[in-house]
């Protein structure tokens, strides 16, 4: 299965612009990278994580998704780095790290 190519605005030419820049399909943010302006990203410590899913519930952009092992991790294509997940985590399993750092 090939992964759907993620487009950013910089892939579009002026000819691709819809009349009035209308977005004609609902929910199409999932095919675009909307998190590339993030300055901090959440790092999950799986040792501490209790899989309580609070971060998944609180994420305002639905960027946190459950993994096959049952952890909840941010999809960095969409995560804006707001830090709500790190703040809400009851066991301190999520820390915010500046982009560019390991």
């Amino acid at each position: 299965m090939t992964e759907k190519r993620l487009k950013t605005g910089s892939d579009l030419t002026w000819r691709d612009m819809e009349v009035g820049n209308i977005v004609t399909e609902a929910g199409n943010a999932c095919v675009r990278k909307t998190g590339d302006w993030r300055t901090e990203r959440p790092i999950l410590d799986k040792e501490k994580c209790t899989k309580c899913a609070l971060c998944w519930i609180y994420c305002p952009d639905a960027a946190i998704k459950p993994s096959e092992e049952g952890y909840y991790e941010a999809d960095l294509h969409y995560c804006k780095g707001c830090g709500i997940c790190a703040n809400i985590c009851p066991v301190g399993a999520i820390t915010m790290t500046e982009e560019g750092e390991k």
Binding site: T8, G9, S10, W14, R15, G20, N21, I22
Partner: protein
């Protein structure tokens, strides 16, 4: 069969909106536009027009309400003048950028200060670059005709742009002239139902008015500019279709007795009618003069204008607005720029008058032609001259 009735331009515009069977009108009354919303509100109240009339608290709200109506696919009309158009200003840009084909009648009015309710083109020039299709009318028949035509062109699926119909405050808005009103059947034939392809619909969700970060804004604006310039083809087609049904054919640039004329006068709006008499008078004296009335102001008709003036030696452009600190009257400035790269071009002279409702008589236009010729021959240190100004002016230099 059309019928001939006496109508002031405001009522002609309202009548055109009624016959276009508009769905939504949102307007705020302001002199000299007041009679338009007043008459339309009366039509709606009396059941002559099945439309929603939205009374609003300002012009900013008036155009905003129109945008909302257009977004669900309603045929939408508004009207304003002078300060009202200024108060609308930010929404004026949004209408064209979001490609909502609102039609707006503008009874052209001077801008404060000093406070003036009377006519000139300062309000129109302030919205010159807003991306609306803009036409100027010479008489009340044209106000009716252009308003109908505006819906036809703006709503065309190849265009989807708002249209402003400019006509001079008081000189037309409050003056009664004979106007031919067509049959409803003819109007319906000319103007199909508005089918907006992107109408907001809960069953087919989409986003209007998303924001544009730096990596997409340039593409959005260039796409808008290309679409705007391409609308000229539909504008011309619209005039042709209008003529075929109603018998009155219009051009982007209207020449009057210009054959072989060495000196051309160019005006926009109702002053063209007065200037025609000055042209007739001078022709009778054997002078080689003619008149150009610029109908389409945006998108600017470069090719048609160049064609119309290419054989003239002198082109006198008469403006009803000052472009403060600029190269001359705003229309003059555009026209001189349009001709700059032409190998053969007339000398272009800027004269300004009729500001804030000051009348321009036939004799005044004879003076404009004489004085314009003199400036073309002898040159002038001043960038433009103001007709009838009291006191010698020497401070307008480049």
């Amino acid at each position: 069969m059309s019928k001939r009735v006496g109508l002031e331009a405001s009522f002609a515009a309202a009548e055109a909106a009624r016959m276009a069977n508009v769905d939504v009108i949102a307007a705020y009354p302001i002199t000299p536009q007041t009679h338009i919303p007043e008459r339309l509100a009366e039509m709606v109240a009396d059941g002559e027009l099945n439309a929603a009339y939205i009374p609003v608290e300002s012009e900013h709200s008036a155009l905003s309400a129109c945008l909302g109506a257009a977004a669900v696919g309603a045929r939408t009309f508004t009207a304003t003048a002078g300060q009202g158009l200024e108060l609308m200003h930010e929404v004026v840009y949004i209408a064209s950028s979001m490609r909502y084909p609102v039609v707006m009648a503008v009874s052209n009015r001077a801008l404060s200060a000093p406070l003036s309710v009377w006519g000139d083109h300062s309000d129109a020039m302030a919205v010159r670059d807003t991306g609306w299709i803009q036409v100027f009318c010479q008489n009340n028949q044209e106000v009716f005709d252009m308003t109908l035509w505006a819906f036809r062109v703006g709503e065309d699926s190849r265009v989807l742009l708002p249209v402003m119909v400019h006509f001079d405050g008081f000189h037309l808005s409050h003056v009664t002239e004979p106007v031919f009103l067509p049959e409803q059947e003819e109007v319906d034939r000319f103007l199909p139902r508005f089918q907006y392809p992107f109408a907001l619909d809960p069953d087919k969700p989409m986003t209007h008015g998303a924001f544009g970060p730096p990596d997409i804004y340039s593409e959005a604006k260039v796409a808008q500019e290309v679409a705007f310039r391409k609308s000229k083809d539909v504008i011309i087609q619209g005039f042709k279709e209008f003529g075929d049904i109603f018998g009155r054919y219009y051009n982007l640039v209207e020449p009057y007795r210009t054959e072989g004329a060495k000196v051309l006068l160019l005006t926009m709006g109702s002053f063209g009618e007065t200037a025609k008499i000055a042209i007739d008078t001078k022709k009778n004296k054997g002078e080689s003069v003619g008149l150009i009335s610029l109908r389409l102001w945006r998108p600017f008709p470069f090719r048609e204008l160049r064609q119309a003036v290419k054989n003239a030696e002198t082109l006198i452009v008469f403006d009803r607005c000052i472009s403060f600190g600029g190269p001359g009257g705003p229309v003059y400035s555009e026209i001189r720029s349009a001709l700059y790269n032409e190998k053969k071009r007339p000398k272009v002279v800027s004269l300004i008058g009729g500001l804030g409702g000051r009348d321009m008589s036939v004799e005044d236009f004879e003076y404009v032609i004489d004085r314009g010729q003199r400036i073309a021959e002898e040159g002038s240190k001043e960038l433009f001259e103001t007709v009838g100004i009291r006191g010698k002016v020497t401070g307008i230099r480049g």
